[in-house]
Symmetry: C2
Subunit: 250 residues, 2 copies
């Protein structure tokens, strides 16, 4: 199934010992619908407060319900900030994470004094003027295959810290991306595509790029930060609200 969600109210994708999670709500809804205790496997684990324009997840079910009916029934049970966009049958061996070739995230920064309240949960408002060219320069050395230990969040359980970033774009734009394009202002849209991401990696990269944009870190120091393989060298994590899982690529 493909899903869209506003992550603001949730303790992230993955079931936790406390707090409501998106995976947990999906599993509960499927149990109510089919009577089956299923495990819903996501393509990526989004953090608390992170949104998804298109998350992919799978589950095994013996239900005879037609997929369109199942989708509507799930949407009737789920809160309105989680929507099942589509359900399709797959091979039994499809795994949404292992099968993914790449994932794309988008991070939205509003580099402006005033932001309409209705957009505030979908962006990071940075009031200091940011030097977008310096951020672009800094971003170049991140592209490619590297050890991303410097951008790995605490509690990350990944076995290897090597990942490949295919694309990393830092773009100035005069409008809020996605559904909100009627509001004009100074936005920065950061798109990042890679074969996988460590815990908090996108937010730590964005936080470090903003340090560069503010002039607290030089663009040319980005390579040294990456090569240090030391989390303390990189900037703080950017807040979760600006981050969207945009697309899982198969």
């Amino acid at each position: 199934m493909t899903l869209q969600y506003d992550g603001t109210a949730y303790n992230g994708w993955q079931v936790q010992s406390s707090g409501t999670t998106i995976q947990g709500l999906l599993q509960d809804s499927l149990f109510r619908l089919t009577g089956e205790s299923v495990s819903v496997v996501g393509a990526g684990r989004t953090d608390a407060g992170v949104h998804a324009l298109e998350q992919v997840a799978s589950f095994a079910s013996g239900s005879l319900l037609e997929t369109g009916i199942m989708r509507r029934a799930l949407n009737a049970m789920l809160p309105s900030d989680i929507r099942v966009m589509d359900i399709a049958e797959t091979d039994g061996d499809f795994h949404p994470r292992y099968a993914a070739r790449a994932k794309r995230y988008i991070y939205v920064i509003a580099n402006t004094q005033d932001v309409p309240v209705f957009l505030s949960r979908y962006l990071w408002q940075v009031r200091f003027p940011l030097d977008v060219e310096a951020m672009q320069t800094a971003s170049f050395c991140v592209i490619g295959r590297h050890d991303f230990s410097s951008f790995r969040g605490s509690g990350c359980s990944a076995k290897t810290t090597v990942r490949t970033i295919h694309r990393l774009g830092v773009e100035k734009t005069g409008e809020m991306p996605f559904l909100f394009t009627a509001f004009r202002g100074d936005f920065i849209k950061i798109s990042i595509e890679g074969d996988g991401f460590l815990r908090h990696m996108v937010r730590n990269l964005v936080g470090t790029l903003v340090e560069v944009g503010r002039g607290r870190t030089r663009a040319l120091d980005m390579r040294g930060i990456l090569e240090a393989k030391d989390r303390r060298r990189a900037g703080p994590a950017a807040p979760p609200g600006g981050l969207f899982l945009d697309k899982v690529i198969y």
Copy 2:
């Protein structure tokens, strides 16, 4: 001051015995800023979950802070879903409610199967197809000076139930209003302007118009509902998330 807020997280405008309110947060922030315990008076009391594109409020202060500085300081203290848009000095006898000639509200209905999650808190999703022409016919008899007892919510403390509705528009539109115009779909925008509104009056009117749109109430019965002066004759209240205080007119 003029304010914009997303009411989702709040127990309405007015200070209550429990729950966080917008008035309460403003008074707390002003106390922290000026050391003065002030009463912030709003032009209208929005319910829990109702939003404001432009609310007007006033307070008396002996602070020597320049209004622009005060605005920025308040915004730095307030959560990001409440923004002070402007602060200006007024006559000591200005009262935002008594001075208002009229208030305008907008109610947004999405008459569609699927709504992006990022818009869901700003509309009422009605899945049954609505007959907009019937809703328009029903709306005509509400315009003018009437006793609105049939649309008065419980707990309303108003001394008189007579109000004048200057305008009531029911409009089909292909896009979500305000900041979200990039999403296209079947929307219904209800705008209502009047000299004042009873508690839940706009939501009760909208809920009754939707009963008409669904065919459960005939358009021509609207006059009888109004004349009955009996809350039980009108439809249920529309949910708060679709309602916006649009403008206070002086």
